[in-house]
């Protein structure tokens, strides 16, 4: 028993060391963001000797941080909203009308997950360009198209555990199909909605390639703005690092608020 305890102790230390190693990149960018460019070259590893927040002010302005944060928020929230709403509705229709047609439709959605983005991106941009839809609205619509497959798949799996007697009772009480879905079924799907939401936040918030092909400068999201910003300051690490620190902060805050749901959502999404 004593040997077991000692083993746990060793593992605890190993874990903590690994954890620190894992965090070291964040430490390194954060401390160096407070230094001048000269101090970074003089000493990368240590604490800043005379910390300055000038870097952050400059980065904040050049990143047009509030504007790009706002753009990212709108795109992420709107996309997830329509993915959750329309996919759950579709999964409900497919699960409750068991027919050959339903299984074919489900199969098409699942098969679409195999198509890599690069296979459709070139004609997609050309077609939406012709329709003058290379903007935020077009982008949100595209996220529905790319995101609905996984969402429908997850919702469809969850629907099987919701008894259809519930629907029948609602119909007898005079509810129509949409009311039955919205007031009876959708609330029961909440755990899956959270999972779908989490998986899509991680993807859409961080997506770079698609927005870079679609959005104009004024609509730029955080990753897109960061890309321009970094290109502008290649040899000026103090500004680049301050910019990186700023854009990571919202994500870390979100992580600390929704930590439990995130880990749970990811493991549910991965296991299915």
């Amino acid at each position: 028993m004593k040997g077991r305890k000692r083993r746990l102790y060793v593992l605890e230390i190993l874990g903590i060391l690994l954890g620190l190693l894992w965090l070291s990149p964040f430490y390194l960018i954060a401390v160096n963001a407070f230094k001048t460019n000269r101090d970074i070259f003089a000493d990368v590893l240590g604490f800043p000797s005379n910390p300055t927040i000038q870097n952050f002010i400059q980065a904040f302005i050049d990143l047009q941080f509030l504007q790009s944060l706002f753009n990212s928020l709108i795109i992420t929230v709107a996309s997830i909203g329509i993915i959750v709403f329309f996919s759950s509705m579709a999964a409900y229709a497919l699960a409750r009308n068991k027919s050959k047609l339903s299984s074919v439709i489900l199969l098409i959605f699942v098969a679409a997950m195999l198509i890599p983005f690069q296979a459709v991106m070139i004609p997609l941009v050309a077609l939406f360009g012709k329709a003058e839809m290379l903007n935020m609205v077009g982008l949100i619509f595209m996220y529905l198209g790319f995101g609905s497959s996984l969402a429908i798949f997850l919702y469809h799996g969850a629907m099987t555990s919701i008894p259809s007697t519930l629907d029948e009772a609602a119909i007898i009480d005079g509810a129509n199909k949409f009311q039955t879905f919205w007031f009876i079924i959708f609330p029961l799907l909440k755990p899956i909605s959270v999972t779908v939401g989490i998986l899509n936040v991680i993807w859409i918030w961080n997506d770079f390639l698609l927005p870079s092909l679609i959005l104009s400068d004024s609509e730029a999201t955080i990753p897109l703005r960061m890309f321009y910003f970094f290109g502008q300051y290649t040899k000026q690490w103090h500004l680049a690092l301050a910019g990186l620190t700023i854009v990571i902060i919202p994500v870390i805050v979100f992580y600390f608020i929704a930590q439990k749901q995130i880990i749970k959502g990811v493991s549910e999404g991965a296991v299915k």
Partner: protein, 286 residues
């Protein structure tokens, strides 16, 4: 009956419409364009398999494909070892278990583009600083040679994704009844034997899932590639996804880029299907 049909289609229309316009039609058009000399605006002539033939003589594409394959094999192996190792560690009764899960998972939430920039700084500035403290020549000039660029990408991706793979393994590890392991211990199996004969077969399904995920992610990587090395030096670290984007949008060869994309699609689909088929079969045998 009629109203049911109506609501059925009403519920399905938004997603079908978006999937059709965003995925299916572009894929079909893309397939057609790949046989033409389409320049992004107008289709001129049908040129058959010319682009496809050209792909196989395109040294830059071949080397990007080879680089991608090497990268994928190495990261899949490394990520599964790391992911399972971390999962085994944090499922022990450590005081720091919960905190460690949170920490290991953290990089996944930050986009690949941003992580690539962070690591560019670490490889270039921090590595050279550590290198000069310890007099290690090998830490100088990282990302400026094909080999260090390769390992740079591997390190970045492993650090980013290990926590995700860890979560998958944890989910499966938690389903293993502890009696099984205790029984093996009582029967005198040592830690390695318990791992090899009890744990490992039982986490095989997790391996299927994580291999599928790591392989398809590794193959499609773009953001990290762009922000960490931008394909340099001399395109030696350019991966397939980046090669396709550059062909289409930097060199404006839309139809040629599309032909590469179709080949890429077939490649990814074939790997994904073979891999799942093979792993499923193996699981049954266990």
């Amino acid at each position: 009956m009629k109203s049911r049909e109506f609501s059925y289609w009403l519920f399905l229309t938004p997603v079908i419409l978006s999937l059709t316009l965003v995925v299916i039609i572009p894929l079909l058009f893309g397939l057609y364009y790949s046989f033409t000399d389409w320049n992004g605006l107008t289709v001129s002539t049908f040129i058959g398999l010319d682009h496809y033939m050209r792909v196989f003589e395109d040294q830059r594409f071949i080397s990007s494909l080879w680089f991608t394959i090497k990268f994928s094999v190495v990261t899949v192996i490394l990520l599964n070892i790391l992911g399972l190792g971390l999962a085994l560690l944090v499922t022990k009764q450590l005081k720091s278990s919960h905190l460690l899960r949170t920490i290991f998972f953290m990089p996944n939430l930050i986009g690949g583009l941003i992580l690539g920039f962070i690591w560019q700084f670490i490889f270039i500035s921090v590595f050279s600083d550590i290198g000069s403290i310890f007099g290690a020549e090998s830490l100088q000039g990282w990302l400026s040679s094909p080999a260090t660029g390769f390992w740079g990408l591997v390190i970045l991706t492993s650090w980013q994704m290990a926590g995700y793979i860890m979560i998958i393994y944890i989910a499966y590890l938690q389903n293993i009844p502890s009696e099984l392991l205790e029984a093996a211990e009582v029967d005198g199996a040592n830690a390695f034997q318990r791992f090899r004969h009890v744990l490992f077969p039982l986490v095989a399904p997790a391996f299927t899932v994580s291999m599928f995920l790591t392989l398809s992610t590794a193959f499609k990587i773009y953001d990290q590639n762009l922000s960490l090395t931008d394909g340099g030096p001399y395109n030696s670290t350019e991966m397939v996804a980046m090669n396709i984007v550059n062909t289409a949008f930097t060199y404006n060869e839309m139809a040629y880029g599309q032909a590469k994309a179709i080949i890429f699609f077939i490649f990814v689909a074939a790997i994904a299907i073979t891999q799942v088929y093979y792993n499923k079969k193996r699981e049954v045998e266990l």
